[in-house]
């Protein structure tokens, strides 16, 4: 399976639409078997979901994702784990170990905002938090 991690220097990129690079990481089970870097500098945000799909990406790890980009990614069949912060390598390790769990966003009838989240339980993920609840 191939996952993409939007990066900013060595960290998770705070915004997918503004990220300049993604790591493309091939996993077999928990093992990383290959890693390449893909530049997004020449790809405008509306075209990024399709670009990732064309590279066979199944899951995207990133910081913030705009709603429009989130739905584009879903349309391309890419699972999104957003709201992450910190070192990209740490997030990759946490994902391989099954410690990052996607949660649905913007479901009809669901309330979003600070107050809607404050009551949630922590998942124990390293420094990950935000709209996906990975905190």
């Amino acid at each position: 399976m191939r996952i993409a991690i939007a990066t900013f220097q060595t960290q998770i990129s705070p915004r997918f639409d503004c990220a300049n690079t993604v790591w493309l990481v091939d996993l077999e089970g928990e093992n990383e078997v290959a890693r390449t870097e893909l530049s997004l500098m020449q790809t405008p945000p509306p075209a990024r979901a399709a670009l990732l799909r064309s590279h066979g990406v199944a899951v995207l790890l990133c910081g913030g994702v705009r709603r429009c980009d989130y739905f584009d990614l879903l349309d391309q069949g890419i699972e999104v784990i957003a709201g992450l912060m910190g070192e990209a390598q740490d997030m990759l390790t946490a994902y391989r170990q099954g410690r990052l769990n996607p949660e649905p966003r913007w479901e009809p009838g669901r309330r979003f905002g600070c107050n809607a989240r404050r009551g949630r339980h922590a998942h124990g993920a390293p420094r990950g938090r935000g709209p996906m609840g990975n905190r």
């Binding site: 705070p14 915004r15 300049n20 945000p45 910190g86 905002g113 600070c114």
Partner: protein, 441 residues
């Protein structure tokens, strides 16, 4: 106690405020920052600023880095942030460096204001000032907006006049779209682009054998526009021979394709446009008076962009929005210097030149704000050549006040002439002077 007092003061401010240390780690985060970003103080403290204050320039053109590097404060930069829920919010940002007792930079402070409401109002205003894809708050254009539906409803010939680049084709398209012929073709012919013989065959078409290379029938633009509208641009350029043939179509609503004996009925509405003064061409004998009167049933005279300067910010916003969508960029605004330069320029090429200037800026601008350096040389160059000091306006209101003061001085304080020069009604001028505290020179 002192720290609690600082916190209370920060929390009483309506703008978001946060501070960072020299490692970009957040050291304070006020209540408004919590509300605007969706991140609580507990979540934000100790994090890198770009992790919770996610602007569109953090990864490429960090404004706080600029301030910490140069020591200079930045004021009211238009950016956007992604809040915790993935909503983009327009904000204005100001930065300042924090120094210790020895003047060494130890961190930075950033204040930001949520412009979502203002942006919504701006969009609403833009919609209010838009009519059939034409944007203007100029009183002359607003006057045209009022009568445009009635003109469109009639089937009369319309002559649209105005210098090059003032949007004559846009008005022609609007007339077609608002007319009962809207579902039929809109066909354009640029009369200046074709030599005389070609223009005739282009307008009326030809049949096989009409001339050496006519191997098959070719329909003309009149035929293609049947039931719809034919827009004859640069009508002042057509030769006397074509003028005669066009006059016949307008008078009798019929024409014959080249080489044909069959008369074709033309169910076409004619809209014509020119950047020349046709009445003067008539006086000089270069344009038939009978054709002129046939074309000039209704005349729409468009002002130059210099005569409708108040529209420049609206048009800039419109072009920025369009180019953002076309080019996949996210440019938010202009710096006050760049806006001032665009407001001060005379725009001989009118709206087309403004559109080109914004497109030029889009090519050069890698960040989120268009600056002077991104504008074409002739615009910035003229500004320098004018010898005026490079003033900084912190807002559009200030730039507007300066433009009014300058125009008042140029017209000896005459209110009517100043209003005419600025392209606004005298009562609008008075209202703006009062609002902006501008006094007579």
């Amino acid at each position: 106690m002192k720290e609690q007092a600082y916190k209370a003061i920060l929390d009483s401010i309506a703008d978001g405020v946060f501070t960072v240390d020299d490692q970009w780690r957040i050291t304070s985060w006020n209540a408004a920052a919590e509300q605007i970003t969706g991140y609580s103080r507990e979540e934000a403290l100790g994090r890198h600023c770009y992790e919770v204050f996610r602007t569109n320039v953090c990864q490429t053109d960090c404004v706080l880095r600029k301030t910490l590097t140069s020591g200079k404060a930045l004021v009211n930069l238009a950016l956007n942030i992604l809040d915790r829920d993935g909503n983009e919010k327009p904000i204005s940002v100001s930065t300042a460096a924090l120094t210790d007792e020895d003047g060494r930079i130890i961190g930075g402070a950033e204040t930001f204001r949520d412009l979502s409401t203002i942006e919504a109002l701006r969009r609403q205003l833009l919609r209010e000032y838009s009519f059939a894809d034409i944007i203007s708050k100029n009183h002359r254009i607003q006057g045209i907006f009022e009568i445009l539906p009635d003109i469109a409803e009639s089937d009369s010939t319309v002559l649209i006049t105005g210098p090059s680049g003032t949007g004559k084709e846009l008005f022609a398209r609007a007339l077609h779209r608002l007319s009962p012929r809207a579902d039929e073709p809109f066909v354009t012919v640029n009369c200046a682009a074709l030599p005389d013989t070609l223009l005739e065959s282009e307008l009326f078409g030809y049949v096989r054998g009409a001339f050496t290379d006519a191997r098959r029938d070719k329909p003309g633009r009149f035929t293609l526009a049947q039931g719809g509208t034919l827009f004859l641009d640069e009508i002042g350029e057509i030769s006397p021979a074509v003028q005669v043939k066009l006059l016949r179509v307008l008078q009798e609503k019929t024409f014959e394709p080249l080489g044909s004996n069959t008369t074709v009925r033309a169910d076409v509405r004619i809209l014509a446009a020119t950047n020349k003064r046709l009445a003067e061409l008539v006086e000089q004998g270069k344009f038939r008076d009978d054709l002129f009167y046939r074309l000039n049933v209704i005349q729409i005279d468009l002002p130059t962009l210099a005569e409708r300067r108040e529209d420049i910010p609206l048009l800039i916003e419109h072009f920025i929005g369009r180019f953002n969508a076309e080019k996949g960029k996210e440019i938010g605004d202009l710096t006050p210097d760049a806006l001032e330069a665009l407001l001060a320029y005379d725009w001989p090429g009118n709206i087309r030149e403004l559109e080109n200037a914004i497109e030029h800026a889009f090519v050069l601008c890698k960040g989120a704000t268009i600056d002077l350096a991104h504008l074409p040389r002739q615009i910035v160059g003229e500004r320098r050549a004018s010898g005026r000091p490079a003033r900084r306006f912190s807002s559009l209101a200030e730039a507007e006040a300066a433009a009014i003061r300058q125009a008042l001085a140029a017209h000896g304080g005459n209110r009517v002439r100043t209003a005419a020069a600025l392209g606004m009604h005298k009562t609008t001028l008075l209202r703006k002077m009062k609002k902006l505290s501008v006094t007579y020179p």
